[in-house]
Amino acid sequence: MAEAATLRPEQYVRRREQLAGWEVNVVSYKLGDKFLCEVDNVSPGAIIARGQGATREEAESQALAQARERLARTRRFPT
């Protein structure tokens, strides 16, 4: 079997922040000529949005916009 052309993820960055009232992890890294970003909801840890772009800012902006919209729909109920 021919070896697949591979790339290594570089410039990996992970940070935690608040978004639309929820805690999220924002992960981004460079793969070849593009940046990839994914946002997870920390608790429980599901990835809720992804983005990609020519720069880290572009990839993050895309993922964060999608994450913000989804998080804003989450309802809280009294317990």
Partner: protein, 280 residues
Amino acid sequence: MAEYAHPEVLVTTAWVDQHRNDPNVRIVEVDVDTTAYEQGHIPGAIAWNWTTQLCDTVRRDIIPKDQFERLMGQSGISNDTTVILYGDNNNWFAAWAFWQMKIYGHADVRLMNGGRKKWIEEGRPLTTEVPQVSPTTYRAKDPDFSIRAYLPEVRSAMEARSASLIDVRSPQEFTGEILAPPGLPETCQRGGHIPGAKNIPWGLACNEDGTFKSADELKALYEAQGVTPDKPAIAYCRIGERSSHTWFVLKYLLGYPEVKNYDGSWTEWGNLVGVPVEKP
């Protein structure tokens, strides 16, 4: 320090990197969809889409035996293939695939410890090329549902307190403050949990890098909540994938003799008319 009960079901990222070209090893990325796989995956890995390939798309169920055999065959998996599963969300859906492969009796299936997250954090190679696989003929065993809990059994266990019910969702889901993980669609009519269930979120079983905690740490975690090997255990979450992860921990890392995954989970219980719900 105690060892895992079945250490053979876990492989490291380094092991996968060394064995990804072995002809008898099939690496499979399992996610809720294949978006992450398309962006870049372990060279040689194929993808399984949990939503459309591991679940029956007409009724709510795992795929039937004949469909499972076709999936294995199309994936180039023979009965003696070593299957390595990994995925995002810390292997949630990979753990589901592991559980399903055990239902149909596959002998050698393993999880890559730390999943996709650890592979990427370590800067290991990725590709977007989809490998060509040679189809095989696969023969599944008759399903072993001793590792699957259905609603009547869960209800009996709740009433008789005959099994440890483990709710592995987040504390906010457990209390009913939210009906689904933040940012994901609500799939139930009521929030809360099954009466008597202990809330032990799946992630407490993992280290920061996504790998599993040591056997001693895991033992302490579950036993502190009264989940002990002398009593049957049933894990549940929202749709059954996070609870597959906990099922894996209890059955294979700690060696509990009777552990079941209630894949109906809260999307079943939280939609039923007339069943008891505990809040918070």
